[in-house]
Amino acid sequence: MQDAKRPDQFFQRALAEGEILLPKCDDCGAYHFFPRVLCPHCHGSAISWKKASGKGRVHTTTVVRRKPERGGDYNVCVVELDEGVRMMSRVEGIAPGEVAIDMPVTAFVGEAEGVPAVLFKPSEG
């Protein structure tokens, strides 16, 4: 588990293999994101990695307006995962303007700007 001591690299490698792992503090039990060598809540440095539930809600959202010839409008949002951490992302599968605050969403590993990235789609049911 040497890799777990290199938090950015560890997260990105797991992502490249299609897995979303979240850092969790052994001392206080809280999750955090982005990955780092210490817990921003209690400042402990014993960190474990847990598979993300992938469940969350849109905390806030915007549409970046872009000319159609340059690819058109797209969504940028901040999602709060059930683990209590927030990350910037986008919701795919619906129009960017349809993404709404509090909407339940499910994570998947996709691609953004040519690199593996955590993306979201509206949760079913």
């Binding site: 950015d8 994101f33 982005f34 905390h59 806030t60 959202t61 915007t62 549409v63 970046v64 307006r65 797209y74 940028v76 949002c77 901040v78 927030r86 990350m87 910037m88 992302s89 986008r90 303007g97 605050i101 509090d102 953004a112 700007e113 690199v115 990235a117």
Partner: protein, 383 residues
């Protein structure tokens, strides 16, 4: 700043240059012209400056670049970069340095040619690694998401956001130094091009050239200069995050803490502030800061600004020069909140001069609502 520093330093000169379009000038040219203007206002020369407080958008060692350009060898420098709030933050470090005898004449200075150089925000700052892949447009996407959350939680409307821009324009129309002075209605703002929902291009600050400068000395000698001194009664900062995705509550900024500390240091309350100069990079900023600084309750900012209540003749004079929305916004606006507050107190504001101003507030914002710095300025009567 603590109460021991209350009134220990004073602004004795302000200046600016290159407002609007500074064709053919570099950012450092505009910086230097601003410095000369402020020193002229104070009756001082560049050779008198031994403390330099400066940051710029395009370099990582801007204070050194500025000192070299100006041909001075300061014995105290501060180049702390907290975004547009930096220049309000320098009021604290300049006061400390002046009071400790680390310098005798402090020059706070900034300049930018972003409008004529590129037409957009130029920055040496890199997009954060965990946000960059999603292509947020900096900084508007961050402020748009704060606005969306405020609308969601408190029912704030796009019309109320628009009224912030309309009020700013009404002040600017009476200010010959302001860049945008044409008429602007609520309908104009709502109908303008959407840039990042819910913000249209008229909810966003200008992209102009321009620079500003402030000269400060210790209070002990502040009355030896041509203009009436403006004292720093309190200044305080709080930093909450760098990336917007790390902001804990999108509807509450660190201005709540910086404001409370600045008011405590100055020994005054929002109720006695006569002019409020806020960093209005976007219309949502004005609403957030009015709430967080205590001019109204959380969630009531929308109603507070509605229908001309912060426009000329309203209940509270806010951004009396036209603000970053209509007067000037050369990449970082923070220094202009201090300059306008000081000029209102001195009685030589370029636009609408309010009557008998003894107490004014300047508030700087940096990054994406990340750094908040509040300063309370006062006339000789407030000491």
């Amino acid at each position: 700043m603590t109460t021991e520093l209350r009134g220990k330093s004073a602004i004795v000169g302000t200046g600016h240059a290159g407002f609007g379009e500074a064709h053919g000038l570099t950012a450092y040219d505009v910086m230097a012209q601003s410095a000369l203007a402020a020193l002229g206002d104070a009756g001082l020369n560049l050779s008198d400056v031994d403390g330099l407080f400066c940051t710029m958008m395009e370099d990582s060692m801007p204070a050194l670049m500025a000192a070299e350009y100006l041909g001075i060898q300061p014995r105290f420098i501060d180049g702390t970069m907290s975004g547009g709030s930096s220049f309000v933050n320098y009021l604290t470090s300049a006061t400390m340095a002046l009071d400790a005898g680390l310098c005798d004449v402090a020059l706070i200075v900034y300049g930018s040619n972003q409008r004529t150089a590129s037409g957009r925000l130029v920055t040496a700052s890199r997009p954060p690694a965990y946000e960059a892949p999603y292509n947020p447009r900096y900084p508007i996407s961050a402020y748009a998401m704060a606005a969306a959350r405020h609308m969601h939680e408190y029912g704030t409307t796009r019309e109320q956001l628009a009224d912030v821009a309309v009020a700013a324009r009404a002040w600017a129309q009476r200010n010959p130094e302001a860049f945008e002075r044409g008429p602007l209605t609520r309908e104009d703002v709502l109908g303008a091009r959407m840039v990042g929902d819910p913000l249209t291009v008229r909810d966003c600050c200008l992209v102009t050239d321009g620079g500003g400068a402030i000269v400060m000395v210790h209070a002990d000698r502040a009355r030896d200069f041509p203009k009436a001194p403006v004292y720093v009664l309190g200044s305080a900062a709080e930093s909450s995050h760098r990336q917007i995705s790390q902001m804990k509550d999108f509807t509450v900024t660190a201005a709540r803490a910086s404001g409370a500390r600045a008011f405590a240091a100055a020994g005054v309350t929002p109720a006695v502030i006569q002019a409020v100069e806020l960093y209005d990079a976007f219309t949502i900023n004005t609403i957030l800061f009015l709430e967080d600084l205590g001019f109204c309750a959380k969630g009531e900012g929308g109603a507070f600004v509605e229908g001309g209540r912060i426009a000329p003749g309203g209940v509270l004079p806010v951004n009396t020069n036209g603000g970053g929305l209509s007067c000037v916004h050369p990449g970082m606006y923070g220094i202009f909140t201090v300059i306008e507050a000081a000029r209102q107190i001195r009685g030589d504001a370029p636009g609408i001069q309010l009557k008998d101003i003894d107490l004014a507030l300047a508030h700087g914002n940096g990054g994406v609502l990340s750094s908040q710095v509040t300063a309370i300025l006062g006339s000789q009567n407030t000491l």
